[in-house]
C-alpha cells in the first residue's frame, strides 16, 4: 500500500515513466506494451537486438514520435502533448544525427548555445568531449568519431536535466569510449539522469545503474548489470590446469578440455574452492591458473535473447 504522501514524493524521484507503450509503423508492430521506470540521477541502459524497438521508444520519449497507446511521462511532462516545454530540459544524441557541415565546431556549439536559456560554456564543452584541437575545423572535416563527440557536446550544450543517448559511442575508439563513460558518470554525479541504448555490453556493465533488455518491443529483463538474468546466482565455472601428481577425487575432477584445462561447474563456489584447494595443499598437486568465471553480462544477454527467440 502506498499512502498519498509516498506516491507524491516518489513521483518527484521518477524521471521517466512508461506503461503499456505501443507503436506500429504500418504493419510493423515495433513496440508492443513496453513498461519502464527510470529514476532521477540514474544511468539507465537499454539493450536489445537490432529492430527491437529501442530507438522507437526513445524517440517517443523525446517527443519526435507519437505513440499509438500507453502512457508516457518525462520529467512530469507528456512529450506527445507538451514537447516544447521539454525541449530546454533534455539533451539528445540521436542514433543518426548531423549538424551543418559548413560551420566550424565552435560556431556549431555557439549556434546551439543560443537556443537555450542557460547554456554551458563552449570551452568547457570542448574540453569535456576532447575536441579542443578541432575548435576551428569545419564539421565536414571531422572524423566519424569526432562528429559523434560533437553530437555529445551539442546534447550537453543546454545543460539538460535528462540525457537521451541512442548508441552514443558507436564509432569511438577504445580510449574515447572510456573518456565518454567518464563524462556520463560525471553527469550522473551532478544529479542528471541518463538513458542510453548500446550494443556494447562493457558499456552497460561500466556505466549503467540498471539495465533493461528489450526484445520484440517489450522489456524482457530488468536488473543491475551484475544481477541481470540472475547471473549473480547462476552456476559459476572454476577453471584450472593440474600439475604433476594424482587426479582430484570424484566431484572435483570436472571435465578436461583439449588444452588441458579442467572445467568444473559449481553452485557453491566457496565450498568447492575450499575442497579443491585443501586437496591441492594435501597432495601437493598444483592448480595452475586457477580462475573463477561468472557468466558475463554478454552471456546473460545472449541467453535472454535466445530464450525470447525460442518462444517467438
Amino acid at each position: 500500500m502506498t499512502t498519498p504522501t509516498q506516491s507524491a514524493s516518489s513521483s518527484t524521484e521518477v524521471a521517466i515513466r512508461v506503461s503499456g507503450l505501443e507503436k506500429s509503423y504500418g504493419s510493423v508492430h515495433a513496440v508492443r506494451g513496453l513498461d519502464l521506470e527510470v529514476h532521477r540521477g540514474e544511468i539507465f541502459a537499454i539493450l536489445g537486438p537490432n529492430g527491437a524497438g529501442k530507438t522507437t521508444t526513445i524517440e517517443i520519449l523525446e517527443g519526435y514520435r507519437q505513440r499509438d497507446r500507453g502512457s508516457v511521462e518525462v520529467l512530469g511532462i507528456d512529450p506527445g502533448r507538451q514537447r516544447q516545454q521539454l525541449k530546454a530540459r533534455v539533451g539528445i544524441v540521436p542514433q543518426q544525427a548531423s549538424s551543418d557541415p559548413f560551420l566550424t565546431v565552435e560556431e556549431t556549439l555557439q549556434m546551439y548555445a543560443g537556443y537555450y536559456p542557460h547554456p554551458k560554456g563552449i570551452d568547457e564543452l570542448l574540453t569535456v568531449v576532447g575536441l579542443q584541437e578541432k575548435r576551428t575545423s569545419r564539421v565536414q572535416r571531422l572524423s566519424g568519431g569526432q562528429q559523434r563527440r560533437l553530437d555529445v557536446a551539442i546534447a550537453l550544450v543546454g545543460d539538460p536535466e535528462l540525457l537521451f543517448l541512442d548508441e552514443p559511442t558507436t564509432g569511438f575508439d577504445p580510449s574515447a569510449r572510456h573518456e565518454a563513460w567518464g563524462v556520463v558518470k560525471s553527469l550522473a554525479r551532478l544529479g542528471k539522469t541518463v538513458i542510453l541504448t548500446t550494443h556494447y555490453m562493457d558499456e552497460a556493465q561500466n556505466l549503467a545503474d540498471r539495465v533493461a533488455v528489450v526484445a520484440g518491443g517489450r522489456v524482457v529483463a530488468l536488473g543491475t548489470p551484475d544481477t541481470l538474468g540472475a547471473r549473480d546466482v547462476a552456476t559459476a565455472e572454476i577453471r584450472f590446469r593440474l600439475g604433476e601428481g594424482p587426479r582430484p577425487p570424484e566431484g572435483l575432477d570436472g571435465e578436461t578440455d583439449a588444452s588441458g584445462y579442467v572445467h568444473l561447474s559449481s553452485l557453491d563456489v566457496t565450498q568447492t574452492l575450499y575442497d579443491l584447494t585443501r586437496w591441492s595443499l594435501e597432495t601437493g598437486v598444483e592448480l595452475e591458473g586457477l580462475q573463477v568465471l561468472r557468466p558475463t553480462l554478454e552471456d546473460a544477454y545472449l541467453h535472454l535473447i535466445a530464450d525470447v527467440e525460442e518462444m517467438a
Partner: protein, 255 residues
C-alpha cells in the same frame, strides 16, 4: 520579439553556411549573373514588342534576369538546401532544440530575401551601366519593391512546399529543376513571349506565378504597365504554398 531575435541570430549561421558551400552559392548567385551577361551580349541589340510597346531586348533581359535571380535564391535554393538539411538529419537535430520552427523558417526566408536583393541590385547596376536600363525610382520603386517582397515571400513558401515532393537529397536537383525550368521558359524568362506566342503557352504563363512576378519586376526596369492583379496572383500562390507546407512539411527524412 524573442522569436525575431532568435531568427536574426540564426540568420548569421545560415549566411555563413551558404557562402561556404561554393557549388550551391555559385548556382544561386553566379548563374543568374552569368545568364544576364550571356543573354544581353548575345541577343541584346534588337527590340522586343510587348503589347503596344517595344523595348530594348537588353532591358528585357535585365528585368527577367532580376526575376530569375529571385526565383533561384528563394525557390530553388531553399528547396534544395532545406531538403538537404532534412535528409541529412540536420533538421531533426534542430527540431530537438527550443529553436522554434517559426524562427528557423524566418531566418531562411530572410536570408533568401537578402541574397535576392543583392542579386537584383547587381543586375540593376549592370543593366544601368552597360545597357542604359532604367533603375526604378519614385512610385515605380514602391510598386517594384512591393512585387519584390511579395515575390520573395511567395517563392520562399513555394520552395519550402517543394521539399515535400523531394523524396531524398540526391533527387533534389532533378525534382526541383523539373518543376521550375519548364515554367521559366513558358513564362518568357529566357525567351520573350512575343505578341504571337501560342495560346497554350500564354495560358500556362497566366496560371503559374512566374510570369506575373516577372511582369511586375519588368515594370520597374522597363516602364511597362504595372498591374496589382499580378501581385495578387503571386501572393495567392504563396499563401497556397504556405498552407500545403504547414500541413505536410516534415523535419525528418522519408525512410
Amino acid at each position: 520579439m524573442n522569436a525575431l531575435r532568435l531568427a536574426l541570430r540564426q540568420l548569421r549561421y545560415v549566411n555563413k553556411a551558404f557562402w561556404r558551400n561554393p557549388p550551391a552559392a555559385f548556382f544561386t548567385f553566379a548563374f543568374p549573373l552569368m545568364f544576364l551577361v550571356i543573354f544581353t551580349s548575345l541577343l541584346g541589340h534588337g527590340t522586343v514588342q510587348l503589347g503596344s510597346r517595344s523595348i530594348n531586348v537588353s532591358t528585357y533581359y535585365v528585368a527577367s534576369m532580376g526575376s530569375f535571380s529571385l526565383i533561384s535564391a528563394c525557390f530553388t535554393n531553399l528547396a534544395l538546401s532545406i531538403s538537404f538539411q532534412r535528409d541529412t538529419d540536420i533538421l531533426k537535430r534542430l527540431d530537438a532544440t527550443p529553436l522554434t520552427r517559426a524562427a528557423y523558417f524566418t531566418s531562411r526566408v530572410l536570408h533568401a530575401l537578402f541574397v535576392s536583393i543583392l542579386l537584383v541590385v547587381i543586375t540593376a547596376a549592370f543593366g544601368a551601366a552597360f545597357y542604359h536600363a532604367s533603375v526604378p525610382s519614385g512610385i515605380t520603386l514602391v510598386r517594384f519593391l512591393t512585387m519584390l517582397l511579395v515575390g520573395a515571400a511567395s517563392f520562399s513558401a513555394l520552395g519550402v512546399a517543394a521539399t515535400i515532393a523531394v523524396p531524398n537529397a540526391n533527387a533534389g536537383p532533378a525534382v526541383v529543376n523539373a518543376m521550375v525550368l519548364p515554367l521559366l521558359f513558358l513564362s518568357g524568362i529566357f525567351i520573350p513571349l512575343g505578341n504571337n506566342a501560342p495560346t497554350w503557352i500564354v495560358w500556362v504563363a497566366r496560371i503559374f506565378p512566374i510570369r506575373h512576378f516577372a511582369l511586375g519586376m519588368q515594370s520597374g526596369f522597363a516602364g511597362t504597365s504595372f498591374q496589382w492583379s499580378d501581385v495578387l496572383v503571386v501572393g495567392l500562390w504563396g499563401l497556397g504554398a504556405l498552407v500545403v507546407a504547414a500541413r505536410y512539411f516534415r523535419f525528418e527524412p522519408r525512410r
